[in-house]
Point group: D3
Chain length 323, copies 6
């Protein structure tokens, strides 16, 4: 989509031609009895409603137009009541290969992936415990598929960091805090904490599907990311001759217990200081991300965000200024 | 302990000489200031309090006498207030090798283990799905260590079937009900159910320690039986080339969800009919075992059992007679 | 409605004339300001939206057209966006007597009622305990009103078996499993279990209203089916001279405790093996019915059912094939 | 026990001869190996520990001496560390007929029963609704057994008003508040409220056993007082020809819902103003009785009562004085 | 709005000209693509939908027309499907000063405020404890701002007494019951109870905003009414030299604990009889108000109210008539 | 107690003469009928059982010997079963003034108080926001009583940091982590966080009594530390002319919400990033202290701590060694 305009910059009266992702698509019938096509179209910068009032203007297979496919559309921007819409003259299904670079169509992390990968590699190199180093190296440096998926996946379906690259961004943020916490609480085993943070959500790469919209895979629904990553850890450990069973148990324990409570899906409670720390820092990082986003976003009433379902409360947006 | 009397048959005035398991052992001081040894001694038939009023009669290392070791004792049965006690003349630590057959000292299943193994093998042979058959065969027929442990382990620390052989007895009982349920609900996949039942608690063999008294292992406390068996299944599946991923997920799902609710330690809820069935039959079988045992046991007030902590209620023992 | 077409078989362009049940009915105003009638019309085979665009075409009393009455309508089948609708030319209220056989208009059990009644009678005859036999006979064979209601009622408002005949179908299914369970757990009193299953939901005949749509009666909302059936049992027992009080208590206990937990509306917990069994088999049967229906039904995304409110989860529809 | 001293007035050095209720009784063995009898003996004024140091001084059947029987004892009052004890010279089992007036041995309401019955009858006569009047008359005036039991029973096993006459005292106290509440909230139906209060705990007469110590009957454990009283109401209503079904449902609803929440054993929630009021006044009266008793009783630390299990908190005993 | 018609008395065909409060306001686009204004307009007697089909008829700033402002409108009453609507010819924003008496536009207590204030003052004068009297006098008689706010505020955002004057009406109603309760339970300190009732919700005057629609203030969301009133009490006490600390704690305790449970926002549980009473009477009064209102209001199905979110149940509206 | 031996260093056979704190004291009667005094005596290094077998050896007022007073004792160390005891020859009550330096008798923070106060003052000086600086200065530098209490108080009765100086140590530890967190999450207002941490538990100085043993004050039980500190903040703010109301609300919000959930005693949920952070760091610090202590302490079985009531789990003590 090299030269098409991006949604956030459209103004009333602009013409538009290009590819957009159909997040929603439905054929409806107007009160007058005529059929029309109602769409929600998106690129990475935003989304807007679009209407094709005469379905005969659909080119090609009408049924191919549905949620989570790309469309090629042509139309112009109109504005009703302050909200912009696209009034379409034409629309057709577009195959993925036509579209090229997908990343232009999905919300992504504000941090560039290469920068984040470099930071991750630096942390991996800083691990001094040889067994932990070999385990993390096997998974995050040598397993190219996992590394690629880890750099792409979101951290959650909707709760927090729900965008491409979100898993890596979230993991790095916890690692930063974990480093600081290990400086403060000197009795913590820093390399064990680092292992726990790296591994605690790695199963999200298989729990979630995130090629078009973020959802759960069958394995995600049937097994869940916690059991998936426990399996991967044990398999990787099995490929490292002599890996200490004690260490394997300690790492598995951090991963299995990181949701902190049974009713949140952890089959065991955190029973070591490292497991407790990883649980708290993970939980804190996710909730702070939600709060900071709520402070910045529009909507809601004045100084309060709309009711936030992830936190089950409204967020207070007024910031007491720093001196 | 070939020829020593068993505890349940002792009468007041009997002499006793032989080996007994010390379930509790403590040196105490009487009101007069003299030290004595207070014990709870057991064989498989029961237990009774024992006292050695003069600790100078302890032979050998006094500190070796502690909970979960065997003792060689000599004394006589006395009775106070209707309860029998052993008044000891002598006591000494006894090494395991002296004792010989341990099974005489622990509560065991009422069903002979060979009979149960034969029944198990019959069910294994009845599985027609080739992949399921190979998976179960690898674990329960070919893995001699697991097979041996599976025949020895209790089903729980204290909640139900808390005796040697209890895991196998519990598993077979559920299998019996599962067979019947599959006859009734024709849409169920019987072989999948059989796999789920066989595997749902197999991790107890490593979660629990049960050489002397039943407790939790480190792996049991840190990882838990559900994650342990998920790991074993994936490893065994990895050794069967071509094993279908769909089937692996379905089996893992039954195992991971079999506690039925997140707050009971299952990281996912049962989402297939087979998973739902295994959860219900497992739960029912454990609770019925508790109830039938409570109906039979002594103690409590008349028609009611003592308060049962596993079920959080008293059990009504009056049985309406069958016609 | 002997010769009118059934909804499931209608095709676009078909003319339709006949009786249909109005599940929803509302006069609305179009964007152009004209009033129209929007309906949801149903027979036992399904339902579809219907519109009468000119309310002057309503014959007779406009206010008589409301939810849960029959209408006589005439129109033709149109199709918008793949969904069929009825475009009506005429509509009028129809009295019940015009309609004749109601069963053509409501969802009913897939099993014929006479077949189910015969199965029920066979089970009643198999009870050997004379007191239980007399109690069940009095209620299910001799009380013609209750027998008729028991054959007609649904098992629930919406959770499971929510169709005419559902209560009988659900009861028979549990009885089948109960018979098997009593074969497996030999210590259970089979006749007591049979009594418990027969009686556990009989109060639904008065808790629910199910002449048109399924809802709660005043007695259902104020008293609930559990208290209703406890009352009926005591009254029936009062008419059997010499009925043992012990047996009355045991039966009442099964009925009162069959929801298994206080927070689900049982005033006591199951404290006998028979009460525990009835609770589990009832719960299992209802949930399996929901699951099997979800596996079969349309809607939702691919291998997963839509979110199911009764089970608070999505159901996995992929079935591992039997060999 | 006309002329024997009462426990609360005993002083060190007093001789004692007479009947006492054995609340606890156990044969024990001293550190010196001799058997003795340890008792907790009570009359209505209090209880104290008693010891018979030589069991050969027990007259008659030693095994007859157990909890909840009367004993005839002779001994003298000694004092250890500020607490009085009975040092017994003799003790023997005493049949109930020897003892005569039981009420001297159990905690009873501070209000005389005849006075309470007179107050109750006055309230019964004030009911103007003819149907409610006939129902209450049938149960509380004409059913002599129920009337007698209602005057004798405690209100609970241990939570509140746990003494003979406590049920009547509790009921009258709620009635007093209910009268006031109906004066305040004019829309309430006072006679319906009165019926609800009278009936809400009447089943306690059969749920609890209270001849010697307070416990649960089999019916209490299996069925519970709520279902018992629902049954009694329906039976009594069945004996009043023409009793309105609407009124029967409203009364049953108050009784069934009076615990206020499902998890507290009510199968339905209060859905009428009268049911809501009865729930609140019942709950309030029970908890206030607990608080006022805690304020008055000894024990605990200074201004705070010991931890109260019924209320799950300590009670503050400091009273701000009235002006 | 001296002479304009009130909404509840409008009939089809009536012309309307005057001020109304816009509870909802949105510019929308019709199926034909033209923009219109959809409103919900209210005065104290009720509300109704209104449409201005041609937005060019809006006078002045279109963006000034939004929720919670007054409008000056002109139009006529039409009726669609039994519901009245306003078809507007003109609409414009109206400044508050134009409108005059706000009370004509909001739901208010059925009791006149002066009458309620007089009743309140009478109760204040009846307090005999000098310290309590001075505290309440300082807050409710001498603090004119608080007194004015106390007379204006609603008791809650939506749960109960959600109208202007509701806080005062609710407080007086509890005071009436409290007076009666202190007559019944003689050990209660009446003046302490009166203080607790007066103060328990006084913080709602600052927790809620209620100039236009009822909502939460920032302080309400960040601090809550319980902490606000604790602060006010301590400040007022600080201005009364010699005020006893014991009394301050007892009053604070009633206020802090009056929600009765931690999960309802009370940081401490009621631990004195007075605190327990205030909690129960407050809770009862709020819930009874909800019930009596539900009994009177329209909507829902026949004898049952619609599902009530505050009480999480439907209310039974059938009243058994008083004799 | 300048030159008396400390408990931890006593050996069997040692003579002892000096002051000790009586944590428990009871006169008991031996099986032989003679009265003796049983004590638990402590200094800051530990505690041990003590017995005075002949109460006639008590000097002075026997009743003055009770829990939480000092005693002057003389005796010798004996050993039974590996546990040391004091066999006393003499004991008498000792007035506080005799004892001198109390700190020798209570568990205290491992960090010297002056060092901690210096660290605290450094942090106070680092606050740049002038309003926050003045508030904290007023409370923690200028209010000498509060400063002294803040340096002495424990952080909790038993959950964590339950020793003298524990509150200050806990506060400083959180401040250390908070500083690091503000470095990591740049959007946080560091001075606001510092204020929140300083103030979040300051009310513990009045909630707890900690002169002898740690308990709750009346104000602690009736009002709680959260409401106490809210009051103090508002009072201190009231003494700073011009203090911004917005800032007051933000600080109060952090303090009121720092328990994180209503059921843990916070009347509001954290709704700002700073409030969320303070809650998490406070919770984490307390739980880590518990864990690290459990790792170090004796008792329990091997690699596991005893069941920890504060965390509701056992703690795994095996530490994976740092490289």
């Amino acid at each position: 989509m090299s030269d098409q305009p991006i949604i956030r910059q459209l103004k009333e009266g602009d013409a538009f031609q290009g590819f957009l992702l159909a997040q929603e698509a439905a054929y409806k019938v107007s009160a007058k009895g005529s059929e029309y096509l109602e769409l929600k179209l998106a690129d990475a910068s935003g989304d807007l409603k679009a209407f094709l009032w005469d379905v005969r203007a659909v080119e090609g297979d009408m049924d191919a137009i549905r949620a989570d496919v790309f469309l090629r559309v042509k139309g112009s921007v109109t504005s009703y009541n302050g909200r912009m819409q696209l009034k379409l003259d034409k629309a057709r299904f577009a195959a993925d290969v036509e579209v090229g670079d997908f990343s232009a169509f999905f919300p992504v992390s504000a941090r560039p992936v290469p920068e984040m990968l470099a930071e991750m590699d630096g942390i991996l190199l800083s691990v001094r415990d040889p067994w932990i180093s070999r385990l993390l190296t096997a998974l995050f440096l040598e397993d190219r598929d996992l590394r690629a998926a880890f750099a792409l996946a979101p951290a959650a379906k909707s709760m927090h960091h729900a965008y491409l690259g979100g898993l890596l961004e979230h993991t790095l943020s916890i690692l930063g805090m974990a480093e600081r916490a290990c400086g403060h609480y000197g009795a913590l085993n820093r390399d064990l904490v680092v292992a726990g943070v790296f591994l605690h959500d790695v199963g999200k790469t298989a729990e979630l599907s995130y090629q078009r919209s973020i959802g759960y895979t069958d394995a995600g629904n049937l097994v869940g990311h916690i059991a998936l990553e426990a399996e991967w850890i044990s398999r990787a450990v099995g490929n490292i001759p002599g890996f200490p069973e004690e260490l394997r148990l300690q790492i598995l324990h951090i991963v299995l217990s990181h949701h902190g409570r049974l009713e949140f899906g952890s089959p065991v409670l955190p029973k070591t200081p490292e497991a407790l720390l990883v649980h708290y820092l993970d939980d804190l990082d996710g909730k702070l991300e939600v709060m900071f986003r709520a402070v910045k976003e529009e909507g809601g009433g004045g100084s309060w965000s709309p009711y936030n379902r992830a936190l089950e409360r409204m967020i207070y947006r007024v910031r007491w200024p720093k001196v």
